[in-house]
Amino acid sequence: MDMNEIKEIFFQECEEQLAELESGLLRLNDGDRDPETVNAVFRAVHSIKGGAGAFGLDDLVSFAHVFETTLDCVRSNRLEPTQDVLKVMLKSADVLADLTNVARDGGSVDQARSKQLIRELEALANGEAPPAAEAPAAKAPAAKAPAPKAAAPAPAPVPNEEGFVPVTFSFDDFGGEEEEVIMVAPTYEISFKPKSDLYSKGNEAALLLRDLSRLGEMSIHCNMDALPSLEQMDPEAAYFSWKISITSDKGEDAIRAVFEFAEWDCELEITTAEDTSAEAGEELPMQPVPFDLSILDEEPAGPIGIAEEEEQIAAAAVSAAEVASNVVQIASAASRAPAETKAAAAPAAAAAQNTAQAASAAGQTIRVDLDRVDRLINLVGELVINQAMLSQSVIENDANGTSSINMGLEELQQLTREIQDSVMAIRAQPVKPVFQRMARTVREIADITGKSVRLITEGENTEVDKTVIDKLAEPLTHMIRNAVDHGLEMPEKRIAQGKNPEGTVRLTAKHRSGRIVIELADDGAGINREKVRQKAIDNDLIAADANLSDEEIDNLIFHAGFSTADKVSDLSGRGVGMDVVKRSIQALGGRINISSKPGQGSVFTMSLPLTLAVLDGMVVTVAGQTLVVPLTAIVETLQPEASAIHSFGASQRLISIRNSFCPLVDVGRILNFRATQANPVEGVALLVESEGGGQRALMVDAIQGQRQVVIKSLEANYTHVPGIAAATILGDGRVALILDVDAVVSASRGQPLKPEISLAAAG
């Protein structure tokens, strides 16, 4: 491990700390007053500062320092964390994140913004914010203490530079060591009288004297007069004191530095020999001390001494394995922590909860290169296909195969499935980081629009494939912008409508039947259906007299180029509409729809697969081709009877299902597998739910069975085919196409399958 790797670890850790910081600040914003929350927030900034200092990231250090100082005021109850205070802190957290990114990736930050925040933070630390009501006046002067001193007079623009000088104790005096030209070295007379505390705190007079002896020629007298008899003595009390005479060119500071750790716990007097009469020493029998008492420091691998600084870290090769094994050892030690912790400390319930959180955070983890995981996933995919092919050929070659082979195959299938699930779980990650990024988006857009917004997130720990998470951020950001910009009303308008002036945006994630469902709800005005409808008519999307349900109108906003904002705002406008969002979600094999209540807000619901690697599908035959229909899309399958089929118009047909009519979609026709319509009665109908919420009955010729298939991207291996999401390899080795249900359904509505509509691009 070298410094670069440690730096990488530092940045990873920064990300975690920043997330911790933000979620802590948000909890405080919600009224959480648990001291541990404040502590955690403080620690996050503190930790970033500490690491940044080690790598000489000065911008980061100085901002973190000011931030930390203000947080310390909150921590010590000198500053009430009001909403206004937290607003500054949340913005500061954003700037800290920016500074971290710049430190890692280069680029520049908004200097004006960070300077402004530094001023605001300092103002808070100086008590210039609305003071806490219950803070007694006596505390006021203390409140100013931790603030950078230079900050007190307001005009100073970069006060923190001055205020923060990391006080490292100086060993420079030792630096030169012996080689320097020896001037006439002065002689110091030292009187050193330890107190008992010196020993109880782990200091040792002998070690101090050893270090002292390295500074020059030394003689010593131990005064034992205070030593009582054995019976009367306290074995842990200090009785000895010393008079030392040392001739050294290292200076008095170097001598004092030796006693730095001990100075609280001893009486120490240092005088130069000239000050005292030469005879002072004569009365005492002085014992000369050899310069090098090597026995006392032979233990470690030689004192590393005063050498070439960082090279020692960077250069000397510690074998990676050695470090790694240490790390693992630590991790396993950490995992033991939780059990006993609870008993040990934290009587308060809140504290206990924090303990549990901390414990779970310290779970055993390893970091693995993503490529390795992906390779494993690929191989397991091949294994699944191979296993399916094996099963098939056994069945084909030995129709009444022995039960032991069949049992073995079943077990193999079970195992393969479990391996696959386990491997997929490796890639699964909580959506938390994406959700946290959204908090920032909300803050920024709220600032720009002048709206007051509260973001509530739920289900942050819901896990989904990392690829899905990575690709989720962009559409989600866009939707959040939309929700705040278009969805929520201005505060005055909300008040006029009897709503809370502060709008709420709720972002939730949950697992539902093998998919992840993400909901984005706002309590704004809801979709203005009149406006949407008019716009759609204006844009020739629908006929002027079209009879559309509310739901269908709402879903019009997903059409390309559709935007209802009277003027394109610079925020959610940006030339992209909800159609882009929809396509991104579809590209992930997901669906999106909206439901809206006028005056009460809108809810966007996205349903996404947990993984992009496998799919549970129904294998069907259409015009001699084998297709796979994603099982999640299928509501039910039915065998149509002639009496249930109703024709209308030139080629439209409906099927009646339990007293309702559902359009019948001939998949073979839509995909151009055949020229004429198939007879519904000879086939099977798959009742599917498309993302618009409407149901359609997909006509296929026959159902072959149900199985899990490994998704192979068509785009990657061939080219995009309209109406087809991806491909897979079946047990018999044949390639089967995976149907893009939504594309087929919208094609059936009269929109031809256009190649430019990006369909699910899985794999």
Binding site: A54, D211, E260, F261, P303, G305, E309, Q312
Partner: protein, 121 residues
């Protein structure tokens, strides 16, 4: 015999820096992530010297130092406080809790090793 150092710090960055620095200097290094874990591994680690952070979750450096000093068997171990807290108040609190000495972060490898040498035989 290698000298054993127990480091207690919640920052992964700092833990790694300590690990590399100490290993390169020929120490055996045992690491804990907070005060609670530090006290738990004490028996097993049986260190010659302890280097600890102040700000840590679950049990901070002050509590950890007090815990070590209360321990009959390990109370004599020198403890160095490793922290960015440079003000005298924090140092004083650490001393009152029983710290032997301190090192101010960002630490320079030489100073770290030097401080350890100063408090160990």
């Amino acid at each position: 015999m290698k000298k054993k150092v127990l480091t207690v710090d919640d920052s992964r960055t700092i833990r790694n820096m300590l690990l590399v620095t100490l290993n390169n200097a020929g120490f055996e290094t045992i690491q804990a992530e907070d005060g609670v874990e530090g006290l738990e591994v004490l028996e097993e680690a049986n260190p010659d010297v302890i280097v600890t952070d102040i700000n840590m979750p679950r049990l901070d450096g002050f509590g950890f130092i007090e815990g070590v000093r209360r321990n009959e068997k390990y109370r004599a171990i020198p403890i160095l406080v490793l922290t960015t807290e440079s003000d005298a108040e924090k140092k004083n609190r650490a001393r009152q809790a029983g710290a032997t000495g301190w090192i101010v972060k960002p630490f320079d490898p030489t100073k770290l090793i030097d401080a350890i040498e100063r408090v160990t035989a």
